[in-house]
């Protein structure tokens, strides 16, 4: 098949999206990012040249579902919101098909099942137009430049951070911490035998060793546990005793 170049353009000024492609059934469309289901719906209504206050719901629903199927076929992940809208359309369509309640009084106003959707579309379209206005404003602003940095700038800036920055920074620190813990695990572990050898050598060399100071040299929880076990082992097997001057104070390993 003749591959036609596919195009999708969005022009804010005209506020219309265009899907341009071959007219064949196997129409391939480069799907632009419709900003959401309401955006797509507005596009379809306009494409069908339908009146927004009197939406031909069956036709529009069919077009909408066709579009969703197309996205699926092209393996474009479909946001749940697009599916929710599909369900809403089908629901409205079926309500429209229901016969009117014959017992409903004449004066009773019968709510059009489409009304809520129309209201939402109108409300949405205002903001879509406002977005276009912002777009144009920012384009104009991009033509204006402010001065480059000067010497005095370094002591002349506001605290340039928001609560969002605080949170982002905090998350990064936490993430960094996780990395460190991983590193720690990867580091070669000191064996109990090595730990006992180191400790014993020090006790016999200096006569006594502060347990607190010895523990402070440890790099990880696991090392502290190993060091603690080493202390217990040495007290049990060697002529070494434990001394503590004050409650909760430091413990001294002393050669007997």
């Amino acid at each position: 098949m003749n591959e036609q170049p596919e195009q999708f353009t969005f022009d804010f000024r005209e506020s219309t999206a265009q899907i341009v492609g071959g007219a064949s059934e196997d129409l391939k469309i480069k799907i632009g990012d419709f900003a959401g289901p309401l955006d797509l719906l507005l596009f379809l209504i306009r494409q069908e040249q339908a009146n927004i206050f009197d939406i031909p719901i069956a036709r529009i629903t069919e077009k909408y579902l066709e579009y969703i199927r197309l996205m699926k076929r092209l393996d474009i992940s479909i946001a749940a919101d697009f599916l929710v809208m599909a369900a809403t359309l089908i629901e409205i369509k079926s309500k429209m098909l229901l016969p009117r309640d014959p017992f409903a009084g004449e004066e009773e106003e019968i709510e059009d099942p489409r009304q809520e959707l129309v209201d939402r579309l109108l409300e949405y379209e205002k903001f879509k137009t406002a977005a276009g206005m912002l777009y144009e404003r920012s384009t104009v602003e991009q033509a204006i430049f402010t001065r480059g940095p000067i010497e005095s700038d370094d002591n002349n800036a506001e605290i340039d951070a928001s609560v969002f920055d605080l949170l982002t920074v905090f998350q990064k620190i936490v993430a960094r911490h996780v990395d460190e813990i991983k590193l720690e695990i990867e580091r070669e572990e000191i064996s109990l035998a090595d730990m006992m050898r180191t400790l014993k050598k020090r006790i016999f060399e200096f006569g006594e060793v502060s347990m607190l100071k010895f523990f402070e040299e440890m790099h990880s929880k696991r090392e502290i546990v190993t060091a603690f076990t080493a202390v217990l082992e040495i007290v049990r097997t060697e002529s070494v005793k434990l001394l503590q001057a004050t409650t909760f104070g430091d413990v001294i390993l002393k050669k007997i």
Partner: protein
């Protein structure tokens, strides 16, 4: 303490021309738009004198066809280049126009600008689509800021536009935004 000393020291009267020059210097060194009030406070002048000086400065820049302009933005005054030099300036700075916001981000920004303070569920209600990644983009670009929590179920975070928003979109304050109802006429 310093300030008091300055206040008590008798200051020589400034000529109008000198005040214009001083205002120009201060607007230049400020890294952000400076308000009339700040200028009046620092220079210990009446608000009116500052306003007159700024007006003079503005017309000076205009009349001598300067490459710069004195403009009012985000409630303050700022020196900036003239718009019609943008091509030359950009090629000098070797910058490209910064990445345009996506359609989704612009829509989300429009909702936040007009409905602020507004929560994520409220934005979803209007746009009909999740706006999480757009909100993240807008926060990263500092166009919006968190504005406290809404006292409702779940106490969701509320968002509003920032000072950077005003600057980037060339607004003096939010009241300069066209009313959202005006867009109704454009619709259909």
């Amino acid at each position: 303490m310093d300030e008091e000393e300055i206040v008590s020291a008798p200051r020589e009267a400034r000529s109008p021309g000198q005040l214009v020059a001083l205002v120009e210097a201060l607007i230049f060194v400020a890294s952000e738009p400076v308000t009339t009030k700040v200028l009046a406070d620092v220079l210990e002048e009446e608000r009116e004198s500052i306003e007159a000086a700024i007006e003079q400065l503005q017309s000076d820049y205009l009349s001598r066809d300067s490459g710069l302009q004195v403009r009012e933005i985000a409630g303050g005054w700022q020196l900036a280049t003239r718009t019609d030099f943008h091509e030359e300036v950009r090629s000098f700075l070797k910058t490209r126009p910064s990445a345009k916001l996506s359609l989704a981000s612009l829509e989300t920004l429009a909702v936040i600008a007009y409905k602020q303070p507004v929560t994520v569920p409220e934005i979803l209600e209007i746009r009909g689509v999740q706006s999480a990644s757009a909100i993240k983009t807008l926060l990263d670009k500092r166009l919006i800021v968190a504005k406290g929590r809404k006292e409702t179920v779940g106490r969701p975070m509320q968002y509003g536009t920032s000072k950077d928003f005003l600057i980037q979109f060339g607004l003096n304050d939010l009241s300069e935004l066209p009313s959202i109802e005006d867009f109704e006429d454009l619709v259909q």
